[in-house]
């Protein structure tokens, strides 16, 4: 909290209240307390005092009442030596200033001729529009509610050049924001600058000149107070609801252009009450800690060419691009469209060229939203039938962005680019492949439009988690090859992170009922640490499949309450299993092969079963045709295990599950393995090595028997006794 800002704001409030008092006294002396006073054509009286205090000001006497309230709120000026928390005082000073503003503006309406135009746009050299009529408020305020306009920028002061004023106005318009202008500095204001440049102003163009007086700034907050009263269902006097509505629903902020005097500081303090931050060009210090506003309260100094972007960021404004700006039809209907060679203008990356798609997180000040660069030839620079490398490098920044979201966003590039008619996209990461049709090229589709699609769709789908995105499209071999190495390093790191995903880290598992055509009562439950027993489905596949077809064979299941963390039993899973198995199963344990083990369809890659005398288990892969130490062949075992029934001591599973930390962990895990068929043992050698390392038994693999040393349970027992297998020392399995 800055003492400098507080001091200035409080001083400004004192000045404004004093001015209001003086002007009110003069007009009271002239007209008396019964004289009518009002903002024209409104049912909301003076909207801020009506909304915040519930006060209906209709006469000069009413203004006196409001003035008393302002004076009561006015805090003392901060002591030069004493440091106390100022935010509360600053907020009070801000509110007192707004009341003073309303008094001064209301008195203006008692003058003849009226100080403001009654129209909705400037006319005949008259610039200032003053308080909006209710008709305008209803017509325009609804845009704040339905999202057509996210909010407004209250611009005070002026820019060093007219060009800069125009540029800022245009930038704000592009973001669909209203531009409310007031408060001239040294007789100069942004609205005048726009007028000099012949820019059309008025409510229709969303460039609204309120007044050159600093007190006219109150019409911006008055407008949003009326929106809260009219559309937000807030009652007059319910200041909490009005302020909260503004903070949550109206994305507004103050842009302080040029020098900021005490009175302007006081306006900024008023705006903070509504959750609207101030971004200043000049150095007026900062109020950074969050509290009232979503993020910072006052940020300065910010160069004018970055001030809009900064304001959008500080206010937490989400940009919505409603129409994807590409010259070809766009929509999900065009997904799955193949561009045949004969129709193709250019091929990017794919099997004959290099490419990548990469998304990374940057700091907010390193990303310029919507910036798209094509590095290398554009589509116009090349011949029909060309093949080029393609690197799509996407940088995002956002206050809610996390590195974990990177792959999720990156994967969606595929879906989004495919929505463009005449553009074909396959793959992801460093095996991407794009074709653009001749037709699309003729319609004006350029490589840069790949960036436009990403920009628009990312904002639409992921606006909650990021704020800005910029895209570089590389089409030159040299850069693509350099960057591809960088990206591969990150891909590897990500894969390792995914590999370490645990059952505990997620709250949702996925079901798989693809095989119910064979085993009608079987349901697979796929967890991060237990893939489907056919080996095909991982938890991520289940998740992806559910996203693609929400009513398909893979449904999300909430784990719910943990009933047994050792055996892997959850309330939510049990309920799902009961329903999906058509009530043949009541419960199952994900990590046990003895107590209610998971059922199998018949698709399992491997079968594990206990060999009682060894205190361990055998694992056999489906390709093994010989007799196993259990006395049964795979085919016989399969009959015992399959068909969706629970057989204690027997489970079907995928090869990879053997390597999971949750492999029969309730019974002590993979250390129980005393026999495997040789082919499987060889294939899983790296996995067994890891299991050994984990258990502190480096030569674990050699302790496991296979058909070359043992085909009966007795021979297995002999082998493991000789090698001192850890299973012998483990507790009994029953």
């Amino acid at each position: 909290m800055s003492k400098i800002i507080s001091t200035k704001a409080i001083r400004g409030a004192h000045k404004l209240v004093a001015r209001a008092e003086k002007e009110l006294q003069r007009v009271l002396d002239e007209k008396g307390p019964q004289a009518k006073v009002e903002f024209p054509n409104t049912g909301y009286y003076l909207p801020i005092s009506y909304g915040i205090l519930g006060l209906k000001v209709e006469t000069l006497g009413g203004l006196q009442e409001l003035l008393d309230e302002a004076k009561r709120l006015l805090p003392p000026l901060p002591d030069e030596r004493l440091w106390v928390p100022y935010l509360g005082h600053t907020l009070d000073a801000g509110m007192a200033s707004l009341f003073a503003d309303e008094i001064i503006e209301a008195i203006k309406y008692t003058h003849n001729p009226l100080p403001y135009l009654a129209e909705t746009s400037p006319r005949d050299g008259h610039l200032w529009l003053g308080a909006a009529h209710d008709v305008i408020m209803r017509e325009r305020g609804i845009e704040f509610v339905d999202g057509t306009a996210p909010g407004f920028a209250a611009c005070v002061g002026y820019c060093p050049t007219n060009e800069m004023a125009v540029k800022i106005a245009r930038e704000l318009q592009e973001k669909n924001l209203y531009v409310f202008m007031s408060a001239a500095t040294d007789g100069k204001s942004m609205a005048q600058q726009l007028a000099e440049e012949g820019i059309e102003m008025g409510w229709e163009t969303r460039l609204v000149p309120f007044g050159d007086d600093v007190t006219a700034t109150v019409h911006a907050l008055g407008f949003s107070t009326r929106v809260a009263l009219s559309f937000g269902g807030a009652q007059p006097g319910d200041y909490q609801r009005i302020l909260r509505y503004n903070k949550n629903r109206i994305f507004a902020f103050v842009l302080a252009l040029g020098p900021v005097d005490d009175e302007k500081h006081a306006q900024a303090a008023g705006a903070i009450n509504f959750g609207f931050p101030t971004i200043a060009e000049t150095d007026i210090d900062n109020i950074l800690p969050t509290g009232i506003c979503t993020y910072e309260h006052v940020v300065s100094p910010v160069p004018l060419d970055k001030i809009v972007a900064k304001a959008v960021e500080v206010r937490g404004l989400k940009i919505v691009v409603t129409k994807v700006p590409v010259p070809v039809p766009f929509g999900p209907a065009f997904q799955g469209e193949r561009i045949r060679k004969e129709e193709m203008f250019v091929e990017l990356a794919g099997s004959s060229g290099h490419g990548f798609e990469f998304l990374t997180t940057r700091n907010l000040d390193e990303v310029e939203d919507g910036k798209i660069e094509v590095i290398g030839p554009e589509i116009d620079d090349i011949e029909e039938g060309s093949q080029l490398p393609l690197g799509v490098w996407v940088e995002v920044a956002g206050r809610q962005m996390q590195p974990d979201f990177e792959p999720i966003l990156e994967r969606r590039i595929h879906d989004f680019i495919n929505m463009a008619h005449g553009v074909f996209h396959m793959g992801q990461r460093d095996i991407n492949w794009i074709r653009i049709s001749k037709e699309a090229k003729d319609k004006g589709f350029k490589f840069r439009h790949l960036g436009s699609i990403i920009h628009a769709k990312f904002h639409g789908e992921f606006g909650k988690i990021f704020d800005k995105v910029q895209i570089k499209i590389h089409t030159r071999e040299k850069e693509v090859m350099e960057l591809i190495e960088l990206t591969r390093k990150v891909y590897r790191e990500r894969d390792e992170r995914i590999g370490s995903l645990t059952d505990e880290a997620v709250d949702t598992f996925y079901s798989c009922t693809l095989c119910q055509s064979f085993a009608p009562n079987h349901v697979c439950v796929i967890t991060p640490e237990r893939s489907g027993l056919c080996g095909a489905y991982s938890w991520l596949d289940g998740k992806a499949a559910h996203q693609i077809s929400p009513t398909g064979a893979n449904q999300p299941i909430k784990k719910g309450q943990v009933l047994d963390s050792i055996k892997g039993r959850w309330q939510g899973i049990n309920e799902f299993v009961t329903t999906s198995s058509h009530k043949t199963l009541e419960a199952f344990n994900a990590y046990s092969m003895i107590d209610n083990p998971m059922t199998s369809c018949g698709c399992f890659e491997c079968i594990s079963c206990i060999l009682p005398s060894t205190n361990g288990i055998m694992v056999v892969y489906r390709n093994y045709a010989g007799l196993t130490p259990s006395g049964m062949k795979f085919s016989t075992l399969a009959g015992t295990v399959g068909g969706g029934v629970q057989t204690p001591g027997f489970i079907g599973h995928s090869k990879l599950y053997v390597g999971s930390a949750k492999f029969i962990s309730a019974e002590g895990g993979a250390k129980r393995i005393v026999w495997m068929n040789r082919e499987l043992k060889e294939e899983l050698a790296p996995v067994l090595k890891k299991i050994g390392e984990r258990a502190g038994i480096p030569d674990f693999s050699e302790m496991i028997a296979d058909e070359t040393v043992a085909t009966t349970e007795e021979e297995v027992l002999a082998h493991i006794s000789k090698t001192n297998h850890p299973a012998l020392a483990m507790p009994s399995m029953f």
Partner: protein, 255 residues
């Protein structure tokens, strides 16, 4: 999209007829054609004079083998799409896809489920899909969920061959594969047909679409191993196929 499946026992000449149909459709320029080689024994690509790239069967095996280690954390759906899209052999007139070997042991539920989706999406990009299919209807019933508009069962002009066609016909009815129209084609048939053959057709309740005569040019083409495009347009075999397609009222649609 119009899907034609040509099926028959080995040696009946169904692949030759498939190739002739593709050539005829290409000549009509009615829209893009997808040729599907769904017979692991005969190579439609040789008849069409183009090399075959990776087959769907090989891709499926690769996916199953790499299941734990797909490139770059790709989902299997994406991997499969990518591989299948890049396995297409592309020519000016048509694209070709090879189904490859039938599946081995193990569970194919997942792989086939994905395949169906991908193939269906791919096929919907074409005006005509011509499937050279092996006799057992394996692909029709399991690997694609393609609705078949025309099933053309090719047989030699013998009562035994016709009985086989009849069996396929009944099987399809049982399998509920979505086949709109089923016809019989007799290949290398002399006119008129023998009474025994006529009787067999009637007994199997088959509708005879065409009897394609022996064609010396085709025989020579086969011997020399040259593609279908070198066949003179006035060859009797091609003329017979032209008449047959005209009878089906195909080839005139515009995209």
């Amino acid at each position: 999209m119009i899907t034609l499946a040509i099926s028959g026992k080995g040696g009946t000449g169904k692949s030759t007829i498939s190739a002739l149909i593709i050539r005829w459709l290409a000549g009509m320029k009615g829209g893009p054609i997808l040729a599907v080689d769904a017979d692991s024994n005969v190579n439609l690509n040789d008849l069409l004079g183009i090399p075959l790239k990776e087959t769907i069967g090989a891709i499926r095996e690769e996916m199953r083998a790499k299941i734990s280690n797909l490139p770059g954390g790709m989902t299997k759906q994406q991997f499969l799409e990518y591989k299948i899209q890049s396995s297409l052999v592309e020519t000016k007139d048509f694209d070709l896809i090879g189904m490859g070997r039938p599946e081995g042991r193990g569970c194919y539920c997942y792989a086939n489920n994905l395949l169906q989706d991908v193939l269906h999406t791919l096929a919907s990009n074409y005006k005509y899909v011509v499937i050279d299919n092996e006799a057992g209807m394996e692909h029709l019933s399991r690997r694609t969920r393609q609705a078949i508009d025309y099933l053309l069962m090719v047989s030699d002009p013998s009562p035994r061959g016709i009985a086989t066609a009849g069996r396929i016909n009944r099987l399809l009815a049982e399998l509920e594969t979505r086949v709109a129209k089923r016809y019989l084609i007799l290949n290398r048939a002399a006119h008129p047909l023998s009474p025994a053959v006529e009787k067999a057709i009637a007994a199997e309740k088959l509708e005879l679409l065409a009897a394609i005569p022996e064609d010396q040019n085709l025989l020579m083409m086969d011997r020399e191993g040259v593609p279908i495009w070198s066949l003179p347009l006035d060859s009797v075999g091609f003329e017979a196929v032209s008449q047959m397609m005209t009878k089906l009222d195909l080839g005139r649609e515009r995209t």
